[in-house]
C-alpha cells in the first residue's frame, strides 16, 4: 500500500537580542560556564522577571515576516516541570494567547510552490545545559543559556515529505536571518526542531496517530529522523500494529528512534498565567513601526533580481536563498555592469570553494567588490575565464585583490601574435592525428587543439586571437 507522510514542525529559534529576556545578562554564546548569569536568570528567591521589550519587537518582526496576525493583547504563562537545567522549575512561555498567529511561508516543493501554514509564534526563555564532568562523578550545570530569548514557531501538519520539511526550515531560517532576529546557527543550538509525524494510507482523510521527536539540531538529522520514523511507522502498520502517541528520541548515531515517554507518561505542565508579568500589548502604532522597519524579504528580493539584474529565475532563487550570499552578490553586482557574470562566479566557483572548505557565505575572506573587479578583468580581456578561476582560488588563499594577483603571478593574457603563432605551429606539429581528423570534417577536434594550445601558454593566451590563429593555420594546411 502507498502511504502519505504528514509532518508538522515546532522550531525553536534563539533571538539575537543583546540581553536576555528577563534580565540584563548577555546572550553571547561560548562564555565560561556560569559567567553570564545573575540572580534573576538563575531563579534566586525573591527576584522578579522584567520583560525585555526587544524580544517582543523581534518576535513581532518574525510574525510579520511570516504573514502572521499580531495579537494586540497577549500574555505570558508558566510551564511547570522539574529539571535541573530549569532553575525556577518553570519556564516562562506563552500558552493560550501567543504573540503571533495564522501565518504562512511559501516553499518550493516538488510540483511547484507550496504554502505551509504557521499556527503560532510565541516567545519563551531558554534553559541551561547539563554537562557530565570528565570523571563521571556527577552532573554539572551551566546556566549561561538560561533566559536567552526564544521564539517557538509551530506549523500546521502541512508537510508531506522530509524534503518539504527541509525546504520549510531553510526558508524560515533564511527569513529570520534576513530580518536579523537570529543567527540561526544550528551547530550552536540557536535553531532546533521538534518533528510531529504521522502516516496514513494514500487517500485516507483522517490523520494517523502522531509521534514527536524532540531537539533535532541539524537539517540533516531532521531529514534522517523523518525518513526513519516514517519507515518505522509504516512497518508497524504493515505488520498489523498500532502507532502509540509518544515522544521519541532520535539517535543520530544509530539512525533509529527510541520511545521516551508515552501520552500517559506525558508531563502535566500545569500552565497558568505568569503573575509576575503584565500582559503584552502591541498597539497598531508599534506594529506598523516594526512593519516599516522590516528589510526586503527573500521573495521580494528574488523578484527584484530577475527584473533589475536580469538574472534567470534559477540564479535569483539560489542567490536569495541565503541572505549572506545575496548580500555578497548585490555588493559585487552593483560595482560592475555584468550581474550575470557575477552570479556565475558566485554560484559556480565561489560556492564550490566554500563547499570544499566547509565555509559559509559569511566566511568569504575578501570583499565582494573583488568579484566585480575580477569580472571586469575578464570583460576587458585582461585575463581569460580560466585564469580568473585560478585568481579566485588565490583570492581565497591570500585575500589579495585580483589585479595584484594577476600582476604578481604574471597571469595577463598573451596577445602577442608572433608568440601565439609559434605555439599554434607547435601544437599542429605535435598532434598530427587530430589535425588529420579535423581535416576529415570532425570539427569538435578544434576544441581539443585550442585546449592544447592554451595549455602551452599556461592558460594565458588571448582566446579570440588564439582561435583565429589556429583556424587560420589549419585552413592554410588545407590549401
Amino acid at each position: 500500500m502507498e502511504y502519505e507522510i504528514i509532518v508538522g514542525l515546532e522550531v525553536h529559534v534563539e533571538l539575537s537580542t543583546k540581553s536576555k529576556i528577563y534580565c540584563s545578562c548577555t546572550t553571547d554564546f561560548g562564555g565560561e560556564a556560569n559567567t553570564y548569569i545573575c540572580p534573576v536568570c538563575t531563579g534566586m528567591p525573591g527576584v522578579l522577571p522584567v520583560l525585555n521589550k526587544k524580544v517582543v519587537e523581534y518576535a513581532v518582526r518574525a510574525g510579520l515576516a511570516t504573514n502572521c496576525s499580531i495579537a494586540e493583547y497577549s500574555k505570558q504563562d508558566r510551564k511547570n516541570y522539574f529539571y535541573p537545567d530549569l532553575p525556577k522549575a518553570y519556564q516562562i512561555s506563552q500558552y493560550d494567547l501567543p504573540l503571533c498567529q495564522n501565518g504562512y511561508i511559501d516553499i518550493e516543493a516538488e510540483g511547484g510552490t507550496k504554502r505551509i501554514g504557521i499556527t503560532r509564534i510565541h516567545i519563551e526563555e531558554d534553559a541551561g545545559k547539563l554537562m557530565h564532568d570528565e570523571h563521571e562523578t556527577g552532573t554539572l550545570i551551566d546556566y549561561n543559556r538560561c533566559g536567552v530569548p526564544l521564539i517557538e514557531v509551530v506549523t500546521g501538519p502541512d508537510m508531506r515529505s522530509a524534503q518539504e520539511a527541509k525546504a520549510f526550515v531553510e526558508s524560515l531560517r533564511n527569513i529570520l536571518q534576513y530580518i536579523d532576529v537570529s543567527d540561526c546557527k544550528m551547530q550552536e543550538g540557536s535553531l532546533r526542531v521538534d518533528v510531529n509525524l504521522s502516516v496514513r494510507p494514500k487517500g485516507q482523510k483522517e490523520l494517523g496517530t502522531r509521534t514527536e521527536m524532540k531537539n533535532l539540531n541539524s537539517i540533516r538529522s531532521m531529514v534522517r529522523a523523518i525518513e526513519g520514523e516514517a519507515k518505522r511507522q509504516i512497518e508497524v502498520i504493515e505488520n498489523g500494529g498500532f502507532i502509540v502517541q509518544e515522544t521519541r528520541r532520535w539517535d543520530e548515531h544509530k539512525g533509529i528512534s527510541y520511545s521516551m515517554r508515552t501520552k500517559e507518561e506525558a508531563h502535566d505542565y500545569r500552565y497558568f498565567p505568569e503573575p509576575d508579568l503584565m500582559p503584552i500589548v502591541v498597539d497598531e502604532k508599534w506594529k506598523e513601526e516594526i512593519r516599516r522597519s522590516l528589510p526586503e524579504l527573500p521573495d521580494a528580493r528574488r523578484k527584484r533580481y530577475i527584473t533589475d539584474y536580469g538574472l534567470p529565475e534559477y540564479d535569483a532563487t539560489i542567490l536569495t536563498g541565503s541572505k549572506a550570499l545575496a548580500d555578497f552578490f548585490e555588493a559585487a553586482a552593483i560595482k560592475c555592469n555584468n550581474p550575470k557574470a557575477v552570479s556565475n562566479f558566485i554560484l559556480g566557483d565561489v560556492s564550490r570553494i566554500l563547499n570544499d572548505k566547509g565555509m559559509e557565505a559569511e566566511d568569504i575572506p575578501f570583499p565582494a567588490e573583488y568579484i566585480s573587479r575580477l569580472v571586469k578583468l575578464v570583460d576587458k580581456g585582461t585575463i581569460s575565464i580560466t585564469i580568473a578561476k585560478k585568481v579566485l582560488e588565490i583570492m581565497f588563499e591570500q585575500k589579495k585583490d585580483p589585479e595584484a594577483i594577476v600582476k604578481e603571478e604574471g597571469l595577463e593574457v598573451v596577445s602577442d601574435e608572433k608568440a601565439l603563432a609559434e605555439v599554434v605551429k607547435k601544437v599542429i606539429l605535435n598532434n598530427e592525428k587530430s589535425v588529420q581528423d579535423y581535416k576529415k570534417g570532425q570539427n569538435k577536434v578544434f576544441g581539443f587543439l585550442v585546449g592544447q594550445a592554451m595549455k602551452e601558454t599556461g592558460g594565458k593566451a588571448n582566446p579570440q586571437l588564439l582561435n583565429k590563429l589556429l583556424k587560420d593555420e589549419l585552413e592554410k594546411k588545407d590549401l
Binding site: 528567591p45 525573591g46 522577571p49 522549575a89 502535566d268 497558568f272 509576575d276
Partner: protein
C-alpha cells in the same frame, strides 16, 4: 518612658534635637531584645555589633547634617522573607536555613537609604503560610500581651517585636491578612498597601498576585512615615505601579466630617466574636460622633473569598516554591539515589507540614482536568469580588470591620485544625484578592485584656484616606497608647 517604647516620630524628634544618639537608641532596643526576646521569640537573626556599627555611622552623618529623613537612626527589623544582602534570609524554613542573599530587596535598599538601622530578621510562618507563626522551622513566637497566646501570622515576629518594643518599626508581608491579623492580635498598626505600591523585588514569593509588603508600627503617624519610605515605582518589579505617589504624612488630618463609611454586614455577622463585634460598632459610634456617615451594607460574595483565596494563593505558591529543589541553594537531602530521589527527599525534608499541604493543594488545583473547576473558577470569583468592592466604593470612602473574627487564641489551639485557621482569614483575604489597601489599628480590648483590631479598607491607591480616618480615630481615643506589659 524607656527609649525602646517610643514611637518612630518620638525617637526621630529626640535624635533631631540631639537629645539622644542613634547609637544609644539602637543600644536601648538591643538591650530590650536581650531582655525579652527569649520569652517572645520574635527574632530569627539579631544583628548586634553590626547594628551598633551602622548606628554609629548614621550618627556621624547626622552630626554632619547630612541626613534629613525622619527615619534616620531608627532601629527597625524585617520579616525574614525580605532579602537582605549578606544577612541570612530564611523564610523561617529549613529549606533556606543557610541562605544568604547576594542582593537586597528594593524595600531593604530604600530603608538603608533612609539611614535606618537594621536590627535583625523576624520570625514568621514558614514561607508566610499560616496565621499564628506556629509554622516556623525555628520557633513559636509568643504574643507580648499573653505569652500563652499566638501573635497571629504570618508576620507574627514583626507584630510581636513592635508590640514589645523590640523594634522602632518592622516590615511584614501580607498575602491574605499576614500583616493586618497579627497587628490586630498584638495591638499595633499594620498596613497592607494597594497591590503594586510597594516593590516586591526581593520579597520571597508566596502568592505573587497578592503578596504585598507593608509596615507594622506603634501608631498611624509612624505608618505614614514608613509608607513614605517604602512606596514608589520600581522598574525591577513589572507589577509595580507607575503612578504619582503622595506624601502620606499630609494625610494625617484629624477630621472625618462628611466621610462616608460602610460596614459590610457579612463582617459583623455570625463569625465575629461578640466582643470583637461590639468593639467595631463602638468605633462606628465614635466616627459618627466625629461627623462621619456610617452605615451597614452588604458584600454578598464574602463567603466565597476564603475558598477562592486558598485556591489562587496555593496554585501560585506551588509554582513559586518549585525552585527549592536542592540543586542550586538551600537545603539538599544528605543521601539520595538519583535525581527524582534527590527532589523528593529534599522537598519532603526541607518543607514543613503546612507548606507541603499548600503545595499539594495548589498543584491539584492547576492539574489538567481540574484547572477549570478550581483555578479558573477562583479567578472568576476574583473578578466578581473586585466588582463588589468597586460598587461599594461608589458609595463609600472607606469600609470598616474587624481584622479577625477573634482576638489572639492559645498556642496549639488551632495548629492541628488548618480549616479552622483558614476561616480566621475571612475578613482579610478579600482585600488581597481585590488588590486594595487596608489598615489595622487597635480599637479596644476584650475581657482577657487582649487587643482588638479594626480594619479599614480603601479604594485602590487611596492609602491617604485610610490614614486620615485612622489618624482621626487615634487622636480621639487612647488605645494606641496602651503598651503590652512583659
Amino acid at each position: 518612658m524607656e527609649l525602646y517604647q517610643l514611637t518612630v516620630h518620638e525617637m526621630s524628634d529626640l535624635i533631631k534635637r540631639k537629645k539622644i544618639s542613634a547609637v544609644e537608641l539602637a543600644q536601648s532596643v538591643l538591650d530590650r531584645i536581650n531582655a525579652v526576646d527569649e520569652k517572645i521569640g520574635s527574632y530569627i537573626t539579631v544583628l548586634g555589633d553590626e547594628a551598633l556599627k551602622r548606628a554609629k555611622k548614621v550618627q556621624e552623618r547626622i552630626d554632619k547634617g547630612e541626613v534629613k529623613s525622619p527615619l534616620a537612626g531608627i532601629p527597625m527589623a524585617l520579616k525574614d522573607n525580605i532579602c537582605t544582602e549578606n544577612v541570612k534570609t530564611t523564610c523561617a524554613s529549613k529549606m533556606l536555613d543557610n541562605f544568604i542573599p547576594p542582593y537586597d530587596a528594593t524595600v531593604s535598599k530604600k530603608l538603608y537609604n533612609e539611614d535606618t538601622v537594621l536590627l535583625g530578621k523576624l520570625n514568621m510562618d514558614e514561607f508566610a503560610m499560616g496565621a499564628s507563626t506556629e509554622n516556623s522551622y525555628y520557633k513559636v513566637t509568643r504574643n507580648p500581651w499573653d505569652l500563652d497566646r499566638v501573635p497571629g501570622g504570618s508576620s507574627g515576629g514583626s507584630a510581636a517585636a513592635v508590640a514589645a518594643g523590640m523594634a522602632g518599626f518592622a516590615l511584614g508581608s501580607d498575602t491574605g491578612g499576614s500583616i493586618r491579623q497579627p497587628a490586630s492580635f498584638c495591638g499595633v498598626v499594620g498596613m497592607k498597601p494597594t497591590y503594586g505600591v510597594v516593590s516586591r523585588f526581593g520579597l520571597i514569593a508566596f502568592a505573587s498576585s497578592m503578596d504585598q509588603i507593608g509596615p507594622l508600627t506603634k501608631d498611624v503617624t509612624d505608618c505614614a512615615i514608613v509608607l513614605n519610605a517604602i512606596t514608589g515605582y520600581d522598574p525591577m518589579d513589572s507589577t509595580s505601579a507607575d503612578v504619582k505617589y503622595p506624601d502620606y504624612s499630609k494625610a494625617l488630618i484629624n477630621d472625618v466630617k462628611g466621610f462616608k463609611i460602610g460596614i459590610p454586614k457579612e463582617y459583623i455577622d455570625n463569625e465575629a466574636n461578640p466582643e470583637v463585634k461590639k468593639a467595631v460598632l463602638d468605633v462606628a459610634e465614635t466616627l459618627k460622633n466625629l461627623g462621619a456617615l456610617v452605615e451597614e451594607f452588604s458584600l454578598p460574595l464574602t463567603c466565597y473569598a476564603v475558598p477562592a483565596y486558598y485556591i489562587i494563593s496555593s496554585a501560585e505558591a506551588s509554582s513559586n516554591l518549585s525552585r527549592y529543589d536542592g540543586i542550586k541553594y538551600g537545603y539538599r537531602a544528605k543521601e539520595y539515589t538519583d535525581l527524582m530521589d534527590l527532589y523528593m527527599k529534599t522537598r519532603s525534608e526541607g518543607f514543613g507540614v503546612e507548606v507541603k499541604r499548600r503545595i499539594l493543594l495548589g498543584t491539584y488545583a492547576l492539574s489538567s482536568g481540574y484547572y477549570d473547576e478550581y483555578y479558573k473558577k477562583a479567578l472568576q470569583v476574583r473578578t466578581l469580588i473586585k466588582n463588589d468592592f468597586k460598587e461599594a466604593f461608589e458609595k463609600y470612602d472607606v469600609l470598616i470591620g474587624p481584622a479577625a473574627p477573634t482576638t489572639a487564641y492559645k498556642i496549639g489551639e488551632k495548629k492541628e485544625k488548618p480549616l479552622e485557621m483558614y476561616l480566621g482569614d475571612i475578613y482579610t483575604v478579600s482585600v488581597n484578592i481585590a488588590g486594595l489597601p487596608a489598615l489595622t489599628i487597635p480599637c479596644g480590648f476584650d475581657t482577657n485584656r487582649l487587643p482588638i483590631g479594626l480594619q479599614l479598607i480603601g479604594k485602590p491607591f487611596d492609602e491617604s484616606t485610610l490614614l486620615r480616618v485612622a489618624y482621626t480615630f487615634e487622636q480621639n481615643t487612647e488605645f494606641h497608647k496602651i503598651r503590652a506589659r512583659i
